[in-house]
Symmetry: C2
Subunit: 306 residues, 2 copies
């Protein structure tokens, strides 16, 4: 992991937290809306000024309308579209201004290579970075999630068996250095593709996020899991591997990687690569103690006191 | 892991190794036949006396014929069928005698619960254990692989997300204590079902074997990988988990499990749960050094010597 700095200082001298909401795709938009409600809350609830960037999507206008509708139902009225379709367009002053005024930025799903090629290194990218450092929440789902890291994953097959050169990396927005972010993780069985890249770059931490699930990351360090699935962390820093010499498509040898499967309520330190807490439990995964057990224990305690 | 004893002593006082060949199912029977050739070699090649136990299969006679044909093509002529269809039949003297004379025992695929119910705890089971301790190789594929361990896995869903109570354990033959053996591992994405059981029983090591791949285990300790896929080891002994309290079907929290993805040529110590060697490489996964590199290095070395 890259060393992580302390909270940013705002122009007024206050310390602000930097917050990312990295969503594994297919987040619920109609029922409990847990993940997107969290985004709206982080962006300032009713007072949020949200910028939606649907550039990854081939149906960008429709994607914008979907999120406009979801955020509108959460009583947010200030929702702007930023949709550059060329790198030149990603320098237009009105787009930059919208981002500079935003309290929340939302990158939709689609093609992450398109997203990377159109915005990484442009003034839109710079504006997103500025917004992140002044405390605006930056969220991405699916392709929009992968592009948040410095090393962006793409391609690759489904499966659990890591193989040589089935996947590739390109440059992302770099808001979360030291991490490779993958999405639709359990649903598309992306364990192998993440592990094969981490084996080749063991200094990076692999973070795979299930659908309808988010990793909420504060100051690039503290990660909390929100939603109905889990977040997987793969840590190959102490592993040995033949990734430097294995033949193309050969099964990779990776020995000693440490894995973490983290559902709702898990809190994880990305610097130390360690679970720090598992108390903020979701009602649906909370401890179910059978009434009989409780009754028995209460009776026994009462009997002891007598 | 259960403490492992040293090699058995034969009646003549010689030390004999105990050998298991645990096959992940769908092993190649027509082309390179790597795994089954290895079984025949371990059983004594041409002089092998092989017992095939196709009891797990609903097409037991056909399964026997298939293996009879494969082993016949490897010049083995002494091949017997042991196919008890009731627990009472699993005590028949002629079956016990065949096993007592065998140098290799092969358990086919099929339904592992049927196999467990019909032979575990019977005289056939006792004879298999005797054979194993006097040095006969015991092999099982698919269902026949799972039944070799003490805790036999069954049921469960495909996927990478471990969930509460998706899988279950029953009693196996116990030749490999301290381990849960799963098969068709990558092909059927059994990562989640293995991890969920290991999370609940962290003293056991999870070993998942790909199709057309075998774990060759000597004296319950030294495991070597043979075949075209990989063997996965999941070690949750140092992990933390909520498996003791998670709600049925909830995603499990498992943090700090150590994983190993081990292709052909990997050698692993099951007691220490550590990779010990990765030199016995298969030609297909061997290091490919480009001719140019070799040429350059040779030229540079020659130049230095001058």
């Amino acid at each position: 992991m890259t060393p992580v700095s302390d909270p940013s200082e705002s122009p007024s001298g206050d310390q602000v937290n930097r917050t990312l909401l990295v969503i594994g795709g297919a987040e619920d938009k109609r029922r409990r809306v847990v993940v997107l409600k969290r985004f709206v809350r982080l962006a300032g609830a009713r007072d949020a000024k949200i910028v939606v960037i649907p550039t990854a999507s081939s149906l960008a206008e429709e994607a914008f309308e979907v999120y406009q509708s979801v955020f509108g139902r959460q009583h947010v009225s200030d929702i702007s579209l930023v949709n550059p379709q060329t790198r030149l367009a990603a320098a237009e002053p009105d787009l930059i201004e919208a981002i500079d005024n935003a309290t929340g930025i939302f990158l939709t799903g689609g093609n992450q290579l398109k997203l990377g090629q159109l915005i990484v290194g442009t003034p839109v990218h710079e504006a997103i970075t500025r917004a992140y450092h002044r405390g605006a929440v930056v969220a991405g789902t699916s392709a929009g999630a992968s592009v948040l890291s410095q090393f962006m994953i793409s391609m690759g097959e489904e499966g659990v068996a890591p193989r040589q050169r089935v996947s590739q990396l390109s440059a992302g927005l770099g808001l979360l250095p030291g991490v490779i972010l993958d999405q639709h993780f359990g649903q598309r069985t992306r364990y192998a593709r993440l592990l094969s890249l981490i084996a080749a770059s063991p200094s990076l931490l692999g973070v795979g996020i299930d659908e309808d699930t988010a990793a909420e990351v504060v100051n690039e360090r503290t990660m909390t899991v929100v939603g109905s699935g889990a977040v997987y962390v793969v840590d190959a820093r102490a592993a040995v591997s033949d990734a430097h010499e294995a033949r193309r498509d050969a099964p990779l040898m990776v020995s000693g990687a440490v894995v973490h499967s983290l559902p709702y309520g898990s809190c994880f330190n990305l610097e130390a690569a360690q679970l720090t807490d598992f108390t903020e439990m979701h009602p649906e995964v909370a401890v179910v103690t059978s009434p009989t057990d409780v009754h028995d224990t209460a009776n026994a305690a009462a009997a002891l006191r007598r």
